[in-house]
């Protein structure tokens, strides 16, 4: 069981991620943009971050860059949820410190399988 922060401006996606991971036995908190997520993550300790890329206020990549700079989150897996199959967003995310990505659309089973691998 891990403590996970799910970040997405879309409520349906957020709920889907959150519901699925809770169903897999994890503890999940939600945030609807990067800024909110950053505040939450700094005030807490998460084992895994899952974030959308395109969000208002603060996008996912900026969020990852900022959070990765925190010493508490040096090794924490951070995954981007992205519909961009193009390389630039992934590369940009990686450069910012993302661990990897999950390409939308994904189904709950794929999500759980990926998370399971990342958490070992």
């Amino acid at each position: 069981m891990a403590k996970i922060l799910a970040v997405d401006d879309s409520a349906s996606m957020r709920q889907m991620v959150s519901f699925t991971l809770k169903g897999a036995g994890h503890q999940v908190d939600e945030a609807s943009n990067g800024q909110e997520a950053l505040t939450k993550a700094k005030g807490d300790r998460y084992d895994l971050i899952i974030t959308d890329v395109n969000m208002p206020v603060m996008d996912g990549i900026t969020f990852i860059r900022n959070l990765r700079a925190e010493s508490a989150y040096k090794f924490t897996p951070m995954l981007m949820l992205t519909t961009e199959s193009g390389a630039d967003k992934k590369a940009e995310g990686k450069a910012a410190g993302a661990t990897g990505w999950i390409v939308k659309p994904f189904n709950p089973d794929q999500l759980v399988a990926t998370i399971k691998k990342v958490l070992g």
Partner: protein, 720 residues
């Protein structure tokens, strides 16, 4: 574990409709000659968000459509495509398409191919018209049965072809770059994943671990050679390393069957060569589906993404913070409001009981009751607030509507809105929308003149329609105004006579003539145009407004313009009422309708032609309606002199008249209940409430009484 995705559909549709509105508003506001990148970004994000959700939840059409939209928007965003009014038109058209697709997706259907083609056609045409980049192929939609590992069970052709044989396993040389772990990727995890493909032999090379004083604990120094002793598709191995391909050196070399153990040992050089090849392989991006995507956004053609993000940031952070909200079933809110209503009644009952002489002296009880009174009101107001929404929920549609209509009519019309954040009861918003649509259409269609007419009249070519909302003591006022040609009272009167709506010899004031517009069967243009003449007339507008407990007033200046003013109660559930008595019956008069109350002196009272009673108030004669008579109160004296009771002066739609009652009682906030639930509507009565003693009191409908008064006027006119 299986998750039923349909449980998220409700939320998806709600947010998608919001996103569609964002796209629409965005394009309506956009200045094509001076595009603010943040505006396009917002629109892009909205389309992108619908695409992500629809693909996830299996709404193929919506996903396919938004994908094409997104491509187009991306080109605009990246500055690869200029924006002009035609493109905005196409994109606004696609907003309609999206709404239609969402609506059918909601009922688990799809648009038929023709409809879909009609919507996506213009987008495709636009994309094709460009010599610029081609869109990527349509987005894939997840299906529940997709293999979770994402592995394609095919042998890569080049592997098989190169040796004419399928490899029996792989040799993988994996050298993480120093900082790999600092992005959350654990080398051991990757090796564990490899082991899931088949039995592995792993050798580690720790030779690069530095001396202790140079050792940096955050770095990775070890490299591994893994021999996977079972065939697996190359792609499934690449998949495992896909997240770290830029953070490690990786070589994936097939192990072929004829290579026997001794030879393998002797072929170290060959393996080294393979490693080199493998690395090159990895360095050039090969994963399927990637090359095309990359074509669509060559890195050198746009500012670096990182730069873009930082540029966008200051603006984004200055945007107002999004308020947190929850979605609640309206039924729950209404049942809460009802309960609070009951509480208010109980509280006023306690108040009444406390007026008992024995309790008057009980200071602490009285204080407690006063506190209960205040808290109950606060609770009630708070709960009512839940039902309130900004009127922008209704106003939002108008910019688009006015724009489309004026283009259609070749008029140049600007819509100026104010007070969009004015809050009103949700039910008011629902019920006022249709009447407002009618009024705005009317202004655009009939009110504002054609360009030629305006020029001829010496007016500016562009007409203006104003849509305003604001609060005014317990009411919300909505105005629809235009600077068009106005209405001619004489023409209206003549038309009403022609239609037999009034008698040939009727003489009307200008205000009365304008009022004719609200008569059933009257319409301002001879032939109903396809824009305004959709079966709804002004009479329906007026009826709808009145059904909400409101009123509508029309003012017009020939050649200058027309203004409709709608006055609505803030909420439909509570109001401030003046209790009045007729004999031992108690009625409620809405406080907002009351101008003043007075006991007339003898010299104020007049009886015209022995029929209509009036009082003269500050030089103005006001007709007086005897409530006892109008409400058929039994046992009441219908001849009681006006000087022996109270005249409550009320106003309805700019007309004032008096209501004659026996006495004025208290003023209090009352909970409005409808009579229709168990009974039927009663003329002159808008509803009922429950008083502190538990009795039912009827709420008078000043508008309805005004009509009774009108009929009295008519009688008077007939007699005179």
């Amino acid at each position: 574990m299986s998750v039923d995705l349909s449980r998220f559909h409700g939320v998806f549709f709600e947010e998608s409709y919001e996103a569609v509105n964002t796209i629409e508003t965005g394009f309506l506001d956009i200045d094509v000659d001076n595009v603010d990148p943040e505006e396009i970004n917002t629109i892009f994000r909205a389309a992108h968000s619908i695409k992500g959700g629809s693909a996830t939840f299996g709404f193929t059409q919506v996903a396919e459509f938004t994908h094409v939209m997104e491509n187009l928007l991306d080109q605009i965003r990246e500055g690869k495509r200029g924006l002009n009014q035609d493109i905005v038109d196409v994109l606004l058209g696609s907003v309609d398409g999206l709404r239609a697709m969402l609506a059918s997706a909601k009922s688990n259907e799809q648009l038929d191919q023709e409809e879909f083609a009609a919507f996506i056609g213009p987008l495709d045409a636009l994309l094709d018209s460009n010599d610029g980049p081609k869109p990527t192929p349509t987005v894939s939609v997840t299906a529940a049965e997709t293999d979770p590992s994402g592995v394609t069970p095919e042998v890569s052709e080049d592997e098989a072809a190169a040796n004419g044989e399928t490899p029996v396993g792989w040799r993988i040389v994996f050298t993480p770059h120093k900082e790999m772990m600092q992005r959350g990727n654990d080398p051991l995890r990757l090796i564990r994943e490899l082991a899931e493909l088949g039995p592995c032999e792993v050798e580690s090379d720790a030779s690069l671990i530095p001396e202790w004083e140079h050792f940096e604990p955050l770095n990775s120094y070890i490299s591994w050679t893994i021999r996977l002793n079972k065939y697996a598709p190359r792609t499934s191995i690449e998949e495992i390393f896909s997240w770290v391909e830029d953070e490690c050196d990786l070589a994936i070399v097939p192990v072929l069957p004829e290579v026997s153990a001794p030879e393998a040992a002797a072929s170290n050089d060959a393996a080294a060569e393979s490693v080199m090849r493998g690395q090159q392989n990895v360095a050039t991006p090969v994963p399927a589906g990637r090359t095309e995507a990359e074509n669509s956004s060559p890195a050198e053609a746009s500012p670096s993404p990182a730069e873009k993000v930082t540029k966008a940031k200051p603006k984004a952070s200055s945007a107002p913070a999004e308020s947190q909200s929850i979605r609640v079933d309206l039924l729950k809110v209404d049942s809460l409001i009802n309960m609070v209503g009951e509480l208010v009644i109980t509280q006023s009952m306690l108040n009444m009981l406390s007026e008992d002489e024995d309790l008057q002296g009980n200071e602490r009880l009285q204080q407690g009751l006063l506190q209960l009174h205040r808290q109950t009101r606060a609770l009630q107001e708070g709960v009512m607030q839940i039902r309130m929404l900004p009127i922008s929920f209704c106003f939002n549609r108008f910019p688009r509507m006015v724009r489309d209509l004026s283009r259609q009519l070749s008029k140049d019309i600007e819509l100026v809105m104010s007070g969009e954040n004015t809050e009103v009861d949700k039910t008011v918003i629902e019920k006022i929308t249709d009447p407002l649509v009618h009024l705005v259409r009317n202004s655009v269609d009939h009110g504002i003149e054609t360009l030629d007419e305006r020029r001829a009249a010496g007016k500016s070519e562009n007409g203006t329609v104003y849509l305003r909302a604001y609060h005014q003591v317990g009411n919300i006022i909505i105005e629809v105004e235009d600077d068009g040609k106005g209405m001619d009272p004489d023409a209206l009167t003549a038309k009403a006579k022609r239609k037999g709506l009034i008698t040939e010899d009727a003489i009307l004031t200008d205000a009365q003539a304008l009022d004719l517009v609200f008569l059933p069967g009257f319409s301002t243009k001879e032939e109903a145009s396809d824009l305004s003449g959709r079966g709804v007339g002004m009479d329906v507008v007026k009826r709808n407004v009145q059904a909400l407990g409101g009123s509508i007033v029309l003012e017009s200046e020939l050649g200058q313009g027309t203004r409709f003013t709608i006055r609505l109660p803030l909420t439909l559930a509570i109001m401030d009422g003046q209790l009045v008595a007729i004999e031992d019956e108690v009625y409620v008069v809405p406080l907002v309708s009351i101008i003043e109350s007075l006991q007339p002196y003898q010299d104020m009272v007049n009886k015209v032609v022995g029929l209509q009673e009036t009082i003269k108030l500050r030089g103005q004669y006001l007709p007086v309606l005897r409530l006892a008579e109008a409400l058929q109160a039994p046992g009441a004296d219908y001849q009681k002199p006006l000087t022996e009771g109270i005249v409550v002066v009320v106003e309805h739609e700019n007309r004032r008249f008096g209501l004659f009652v026996d006495d004025l009682l208290s003023q209090q906030q009352i909970v409005i209940k409808t009579l229709d639930d168990n009974y039927r509507p009663v003329p002159g009565v808008s509803g009922a409430t429950i008083l502190g003693d538990g009795r039912v009191a009827l709420i008078l409908d000043v508008g309805g009484l005004a009509q009774l008064q009108n009929q009295a006027d008519m009688n008077y006119a007939d007699a005179g």
